[in-house]
Amino acid sequence: MKHKTTICILDDEPIVGDRLKPELEDDGYEVEVFTDSASAVRRVGETCFDIVITDLKMQGVDGMEFLDKVKERCPNSQVIMITGYATIETARESFVRGAYDFIAKPFRIGEIRDVVKKARRRVQKQQA
């Protein structure tokens, strides 16, 4: 059986994971959801996800730090940043640090599905 593309979602607001998980699973992804960054960091230490979706502003380890940790351990993971504080600066900084794309909250489900689809193509290209 073909390997399913894996996704890790980290957002301290549970609603984000609750809404995204079933949608992305319908698209055929394997999805894990975290609401605290410590356990997400732990999990990323165990396994590399193909795609990581993370909030930027959180208690504890924030999204930018999490991005660094993911990229350090799993350079091939495609990281999508989501945040309610959308500014050009933060977007630029996250790109410099290796983020794949950046989405401002609130976002349409269709919008994030498209970004995830593009990220999957990138992952598949790398694997090929």
Binding site: R19, L20, P22, G84, P106, F107, R108, G110, I112
Partner: protein, 864 residues
């Protein structure tokens, strides 16, 4: 009337003496009000868009959005008081109160305003579930659906419940008793008994007593003393996701004299032992306990029963179950005697798959609902329902299911006249999964022909299926069949009328923040707007499935997908954030202040931020118009007369970019020197050659009406010269107040390249004739404005039309048409001698503007 005007002039002069604020400062403030109002309205529309389920938003978004709206409203209020010389300081108190309620809601407290002690079905809105409890809430939603009659009713809300406890000092005593459970061997039964005795021994506060009796009279006009009622518990959570169903007491067939005592009995039922134990197991905090009470008159049913929209034992078999018995539904609900059972296909033509006719021995009939009586022998083996009645019931209960997006358990009844009533509606207790689409379902869908994919924007998420029904004229709108997929070129407010009957909506053009999308969300109809090509691709009568979750339209009906929505996926609407959004919007979005002439049109009458914005807009526009009414005063401040053949004494004031720069010195301007976009558009219509012809009606009509025409038009021309008319112009702004004849017209418009900043407001009032003719004219104007795409409101001779977010081209057309309409309407009331004239003049206006009389109501290309 002239006395009225001179009074206004005096006022304006007085005002000038009192204040020395430069006119320009006033206009700057006024423009800021317009900008802030627009910003706030845009933010409100954005929040409402989130109700569609397509967005993922969190708490932080809600906090930010509320804060941004609050800021815009507050700034608008400050500027407003600057303009009107602090005459409306009370608006701050209203804003503060709304701010307080929003803060409480955001902190997780449910706020029920104290004036909402009693709410009739018509007053209950989508955000009031926590105020009236699930039973009353569900039925109130059913009342809004087509073809579903519900007996009139009202709820004594949670606020009424709390009022009762507070009046009798019961809060602490109940709390103490609840805490004592288990201590010193006090059983749940003993505690329950003590609390219920306390409640039954209380007094109903006099104002609550009066309000209940008044509401009873409202739902049962005439002779309520002789009527019988059902008085039922409507607890928060009951009949909802958490099922308290059946735990609380309800009373049927209650005579008038026992209505108040029944209130206490139902409230006491909240603390019965079963309820207390159930909540203890579920760890529902006692402080959250509250009970609303639902009152309705009894319906004398000839036949009644229960319908399950899906057979709970065989959910995949696409069948509903209908149980029916003679008389009241009690026999069927209690399941203690033989009845008829029908298995019915869930899809048209709703064939009966199987019917089992029971030997019906017992029935319950009014007036004595406590006792069963024998069914007459000749009726015992006779089916209770005709095939036509089965179809009617099935169609209605599926409409209810489509709204709730859950399999439903519905109590229904047919009275002696054959009228069908919905008596109860609650989600059927089938456990809902949270599974994604199964591989089998995906395989089925992959085989299905895709007609459209990723065209347009989802305005309300969900799945709908049915035959395509294109709406492109009046006839297709009037004949819209229940359950069809509505396909239309434009997302115009006019469609709102049939949306509750649609299983899905697709439009080529339109915005998820428009009025039609708001209505679709209110009725939970899956909707895609701005899809571009739907009217070309989808053919009338073609069966389609609209997947407004993935934005795909399939050919044919995909039962598995419809099932998935009903049974597998919890609706996004059950999430906390969504419900909070809805409760917040209740203080923000509803517009209840409509008629500026009504005594409630005050700061204190504002129930939401939208009301506040409306109030500020209306009052500041009028204040400015009053200030600007003295022509000499105006000329001193740069007002210029418009030089035109048209009999209008129109003064233009430029507040920036509204007129050619070359006109500084002269006291007058020519129409071609106008630079203001909205004024140019309006003038194209208002100053057009046909608009002001002294002959108000076309040549073929002349013979019939010539005598009236001659005399009236001369008089009208004279009147309009005397009018005092002012237009305030900016490059993208127009505020026009016209007194033509005896009519008072206001147009307030922003028009530029950015649709989100565009808005048009039109108000028309007054006339020289009696109220009947003026109202006829108002009806005509409303129907024209609605047909061409405005959201309209009217009362008596008042006409209000609004449009937001139009493109430059569309807004231009709207203003052009309003210009023509102003000229067209100026003497209509005199001519509109009977009701048929409304249709006649409607056709005439549409023809004069080169629009097809049957629709679609758009201006023909190449007009300009």
């Amino acid at each position: 009337m002239s006395g009225h005007i001179s009074e206004r002039l005096k006022k304006a002069i007085r005002w000038r003496k009192q204040r020395t604020v430069p006119l320009n400062d006033l206009f700057v403030r006024f423009q800021q009000i317009l900008e802030q109002n627009n910003t706030a309205l845009q933010l409100i529309a954005d929040m409402e868009d989130k109700l569609g389920g397509e967005y993922v938003f969190d708490r932080k978004y809600l906090e930010d959005a509320v804060a941004n709206i609050q800021e815009a409203v507050m700034r608008s209020a400050v500027n407003f008081n600057f303009i009107c010389d602090n005459k409306h300081l009370d608006i701050y108190g209203v804003v503060e109160e709304l701010n307080k309620q929003l803060k409480q809601e955001l902190a997780g407290q449910i706020v029920i305003p104290s004036h909402e002690v009693i709410l009739t079905f018509g007053e209950i809105t989508a955000a009031m579930k926590e105020a009236v409890g699930n039973k009353a809430y569900n039925l109130s939603r059913v009342t809004t659906l087509p073809n579903a009659d519900v007996p009139a009713g009202f709820a004594v809300t949670i606020a009424g419940f709390r009022k009762y406890l507070a009046y009798n000092n019961l809060f602490d005593r109940i709390e103490g008793l609840l805490d004592s459970t288990g201590k010193d061997g006090r059983t749940v039964e003993a505690v329950s008994q003590s609390i219920r005795l306390l409640i039954l021994g209380g007094d109903i506060p006099p104002d609550l007593r009066r309000d209940i009796l008044r509401a009873v009279e409202k739902i049962c006009p005439g002779n309520p003393e002789a009527a019988f009622f059902s008085v039922r518990s409507s607890a928060v959570g009951e009949d909802g996701e958490m099922s308290f169903a059946g735990l609380h007491d309800s009373f049927l067939n209650v005579p008038f004299r026992e209505l108040l005592a029944s209130f206490k009995k139902v409230v006491a039922g909240l603390y019965n032992p079963a309820g207390l134990e159930y909540r203890a197991r579920r760890q529902v905090p006692h402080t959250d306990l509250a009970m609303a009470v639902l009152y309705q008159p009894m319906v004398a049913c000839r036949v009644a029963g229960v319908a399950y929209t899906i057979d709970p034992n065989a959910p995949s078999e696409e069948a509903s179950l209908i149980g029916a018995g003679w008389g009241l539904g009690k026999v069927v609900v209690e399941g203690r005697a033989a009845v008829d059972t029908y298995r019915v296909s869930r899809y048209p033509p709703y064939a009966v798959i199987e019917s089992r006719i029971g030997e019906k021995q017992w029935m319950v009939v009014l007036p004595d609902s406590a006792r069963s009586v024998e069914v007459p022998p000749e009726l015992r083996r006779q089916p209770c329902l005709t095939p036509e009645e089965v179809v009617r019931i099935e169609e209605t209960v599926l409409t209810v299911e489509r709204f709730f997006k859950r399999p439903m358990d519905i109590e229904w009844g047919l009275d002696a006249e054959g009228r069908m009533w919905i008596l109860q509606a609650r989600p059927l207790g089938i456990a809902r999964g949270s599974r994604g689409r199964s591989p089998e379902l995906k395989a089925v869908m992959e085989r299905q022909t895709v007609l459209m994919e990723n065209q347009g924007v989802i305005a309300y998420r969900g799945i709908g299926a049915g035959p395509v029904w294109p709406v492109d004229d009046d006839e297709s709108l009037d004949r819209f069949p229940s359950g069809a997929v509505l396909v239309s070129r434009f997302a115009i407010p006019l469609l709102a009328r049939v949306i509750p009957r649609a299983s899905a909506v697709i439009t080529d053009v339109g915005s998820p923040t428009g009025h039609m999308a708001t209505v679709a969300r209110e009725f939970r109809v899956p909707t895609i707007v701005d899809a571009g090509v739907a009217t070309e691709i989808l053919k009338a009568g073609q069966q389609v499935t609209v997947d407004a979750e993935r934005n795909v339209v399939y050919e044919g009906r995909i039962d598995g997908l419809l099932h998935h929505q009903l049974l597998e996926r919890a609706s996004f609407e059950t999430t906390y954030e969504f419900q909070l959004l809805r409760r917040l919007l209740r203080r923000i979005a509803p517009l209840t202040l409509i008629d500026p002439e009504s005594p409630e049109f005050t700061a204190q009458g504002c129930r939401s931020f939208h009301d506040v914005l409306r109030f500020i807009h209306e009052k500041s526009t009028l204040t400015l118009a009053q200030i600007a009414e003295d022509p000499g005063f105006l000329r001193a401040h740069g007002g210029k007369r418009l030089k035109t053949e048209v009999p209008l004494n129109l003064i233009l004031i430029d507040i920036g970019g509204g007129l050619d720069e070359g006109v500084q010195k002269a006291g007058w301007v020519l129409p071609e020197q106008i630079r203001s976009q909205p004024m140019k558009a309006l003038w194209e219509g208002l100053g057009g050659p046909d608009t002001w012809s002294t002959r108000p009606i076309a040549a073929d009509f002349k013979g019939l009406m010539s005598s009236i025409t001659r005399t009236q038009s001369a008089a009208i021309a004279g009147q309009s010269l005397a009018g005092l008319n002012v237009a305030v112009l900016g490059s993208n702004y127009l505020n026009l107040s016209l007194r033509v004849g005896y009519h008072f017209t206001v147009v307030d418009a922003c028009l530029g390249p950015q649709p989100e900043k565009n808005s048009i407001f039109f108000r028309f009032l007054g006339g020289a004739t009696d109220i009947t003719r003026r109202s006829r004219r108002a009806a005509l104007l409303l129907s024209i404005l609605e047909k061409i795409g405005f959201k309209v409101e009217g009362k008596g001779d008042l006409v209000i039309a609004r449009s937001t977010n139009s493109t430059l081209e569309q807004g231009w057309d709207y203003l052009y048409l309003i210009g023509r309409l102003i000229g067209f309407a100026r003497q209509l009331d005199i001519l509109m001698t009977d009701d048929t004239s409304v249709n006649l003049y409607f056709e005439r206006f549409m023809a004069a503007c080169h629009m097809c009389p049957g629709g679609p109501y758009i201006l023909k290309e190449g007009r300009r």
